[in-house]
């Protein structure tokens, strides 16, 4: 062992607990972690049953209550099309459509979706039979590394439905009218899906084509 002797394992348990719990000695300003000793244990998992309809297929799961919808899809149902980019609702890679609405599946517990109907990118189409939005992304090169792409595509499909349903956006000029189908509307509504490769310009064109906008 390289570090024996320097680095004594402590059984004292004198510290408060929490993520990367710490106490600092030797300085005046100490950083301390969160939580209190009495309640901070990881605890035994609580298992719960939940029934989902995923891409039209009934799925019965018995899972840890902590499991997010995203992890239920990826780790339990092996539907890895929905991506984990941040796990905190800050990137949109995990976007799926639940009962017709797009959501961040990372910020939702699977157990809260009893009976819900969930569409993932795998449910839109497959390599042999792409959904028109998937085909438009290929045609316009609306992706590069491909990691944000399933979320972009699920979002794009839902965005066109939202515009059709008359839901306004931040850039809608007149709130009392139906929002127009425009590039500006699409860009604003897609802004919850980050693409670090920077395919935005091409994505907007792909969505515009599916929406029937003139180039």
């Amino acid at each position: 062992m390289s570090n024996a002797g320097e680095f004594e394992l402590s059984r004292r348990g004198l510290l408060v607990s929490g993520g990367a719990t710490m106490a600092v000695s030797g300085i005046t300003q100490s950083a301390q972690a969160q939580g209190d000793t009495a309640t901070a244990t990881a605890g035994t998992p609580h298992l719960a049953e939940v029934n989902l309809v995923v891409n039209g297929k009934q799925q019965a799961l018995r899972i840890d209550t902590r499991t997010t919808l995203l992890d239920a899809l990826r780790e339990h149902l092996h539907l890895t099309g929905s991506k984990k980019g941040c796990d905190h609702g800050q990137c949109g890679a995990c976007t799926v459509i639940v009962d017709g609405r797009r959501i961040n599946s990372c910020l939702s517990l699977a157990v809260m979706h009893e009976g819900d109907s969930i569409t993932t990118v795998e449910g839109l189409g497959n390599p042999d039979k792409l959904h028109p939005m998937q085909a438009a992304f290929v045609k316009h090169d609306g992706y590069q590394c491909g990691y944000c792409t399933p979320g972009q595509i699920c979002s794009a499909v839902a965005v066109l439905d939202e515009i059709k349903a008359g839901i306004p956006s931040h850039v809608t000029g007149d709130l009392t009218k139906k929002p127009p189908l425009s590039r500006t509307e699409i860009q604003e509504r897609m802004s919850g899906n980050i693409c670090r490769c920077g395919a935005y310009s091409n994505i907007a064109e792909a969505i515009g084509e599916v929406a029937g906008m003139k180039a």
């Binding site: 062992m1 390289s2 570090n3 680095f7 004594e8 394992l9 402590s10 059984r11 348990g13 993520g19 990367a20 719990t21 710490m22 106490a23 600092v24 000695s25 030797g26 300085i27 300003q29 901070a40 244990t41 990881a42 605890g43 998992p45 840890d64 992890d71 092996h78 890895t80 099309g81 980019g85 941040c86 905190h88 800050q90 990137c91 990118v121 795998e122 189409g125 497959n126 390599p127 792409l130 992304f137 290929v138 090169d141 992706y143 590069q144 590394c145 491909g146 990691y147 944000c148 399933p150 850039v171 699409i186 802004s191 919850g192 980050i194 670090r196 920077g198 935005y200 310009s201 091409n202």
Partner: protein, 735 residues
Amino acid sequence: MKFDSPAGDNPIDQLKVVGKPHPRIDGPLKTSGKATYAYEWKDIAPNPAYGYIVGSAIAKGRITSIDIDRAKAASGVLAVVTAQNAGKLSKGNFNTAKLLGGPEIDHYHQAIALVVAETFEQARAAASLISVDYKRGDGAFDLAKSMDSAKAPPEGWSGPADTAVGDFDSAFAGAPVQLDAEYYTPDHAHAMMEPHATIAAWQDDALTLWTSNQMIDWSVGDVAKTLGIPKDKVRMISPYIGGGFGGKLFVRADAILAALGAKATGRAVKIALPRPFIFNNTTHRPATLQRIRIGTGKDGVITAIGHESWSGDLPGGGAETANSQTRLLYAGANRMTRTRLSVLDLPEGNAMRAPGEAPGMMALEIAMDEMAEKLGMDPVRFRAINDTQVDPEKPERRYSMRQLTKCMEIGAEKFGWDGRNATPGTRREGRWLVGMGMAAAFRNSPVTKSAARVRLDKRGVVTVETDMTDIGTGTYTILAQTAAETMGLPIEMIEVKLGDSTFPVSCGSGGQWGANNSTSGVYAACMKLREAVTQALGFNPQDAVFADGKVRSGNRSAPLAQAAGSNGLSAEDFIEYGDLDKQYQQSTFGAHFVEVGVDAHSAEIRVRRMLAVCAAGRIINPTSARSQVIGAMTMGVGAALMEELVIDKRFGFFVNHDLAGYEVPVHADIPHQEVIFLDEVDPLSSPMKAKGVGELGICGVAAAVANAIYNATGVRVRDYPITLDKLIEKMPAIA
């Protein structure tokens, strides 16, 4: 195949497949969620365990004690790995700090423990039960304060720390028009969408890593070195990579700790770095302080140009050479550059898209704009009159090809540059002050060895195998185009397999060398396969023509598949280079044009139009090359307007360590982007006559945005990112 003389006519010049826009061949998989990224392999290990990493809570100091007992006792936990029980670990050649820290701590969020459990939820929960006592040490976290202690770094990829030609000091002192300005570029995060992730499994003493890595061979070597096992006992598989930008050039903690966790548990272990952990745990582009001095005659001809760059890194780390392009980009008889590196105890600095040039051009191209204004000269013209066809430090050494002025002139015309009012703050449209800016783009085009294997089977399908990676760059498609062109096949008859260390060693993805070198390696292997084909068919190799899935020689013709026989044919070769890149300076060039609007009241900045014109040799696939450039332009907008890893200089860490705090551009920030490629072939670069564009595209963008903001508002900001708080007090009075 050795490339040591200019390329003549060769099968690539047919341009039946190469040079044509082609949708990515991996597109249907990526758009349907069927491409398998590192964390997503399910059949390779039926019952993987999950790892969760604990990071250091201090930036510098030591662990005085660590209590893992409660974590070990927690539900579902299989093992806890720390530096104490991990066994002897070395440091990889490409790592600056250890990937498993303790007891010494080198930077914030350095990994110090791994919890492995049956489920992700259990591993994460147990990780929070590890208690650590630290003794905080003194660290240096402030680049500006460290400047006096900065030292000349050893000569690296970008050359020596100090360069000088002529007599810069006297020439600058005597120049009728002078600029002496300082610039700051902050630390940047790669922020690729796929977190660093690995699944590790041992079979006896052999380790397999399904991971996300740009440079397979480097990284196999570093895994072996870190773990102290032979290189041939490590296999790395990385066919799909959710973005890298330099952040996945090297082995990171996910790979090493997954291997250690798998060893400790006898199970396959999967780890993805949590997003809030990535910013301080992994590498970043270091901040730079730069001083630029330019002296010209009244005619605008540069007589003196000097560029100094300071950056910091952990002990043993490297400098961000923000002055490297200044040695090459503009003419001028008297020149100097100086690079200084100080020790900072921030997380490890390292390569990010166009290291050196990206931050260097952010400063230099503002300086050129400032100088043009001092001279009362149009910025395009000022650059054009200082263009050069030779290496300004070695005038006997020509550029292999250099069309900078043409890029600028075409861009100016297409963008409507003559509509720009040189007097800033004079164009108002509604609530917006509108301005235009431009900048040159420049990035070298390195050549390096790259190998591939090609197999022809009885169906007539050619399979390309190389450990080359596709990080979104379009590698799958351009390798297929190259093989299709060389073998005379439609692209549908080519299969490409990438990112597996059992395949021949390629150049990997970095430094915008991937496209030119990896396609050249495939070309070399295909030329060898052609020989094998003609031999198998008994054809004369001298006059054999490969076209339409057939081989013709004289009056004989046979389908390619026939040559394969039932066992198939295989060939392997590599491209290697002579000294053409020493004889000739090989670089890529471009021009960026940007129009911005700045809210006359709030000083919010929005980009309205963008154009890039690029001259980068033969463009193998205009579709994916264009995407590389627009992606780089987007990243450049981020660098201009929002991206900054903000340092808490008391505690020594990047405070905004998530994707809400570290803002990158979103859809609404990016207008329609135009890209024009000059029709260029460079026979001195490779048999492909190609170069790279992925990094060229980012060089200069941010400065073009900065110059547009200046043109819109009259406020010159030399300290990136250019956020509204830096404008607000100096904005023109509201009409």
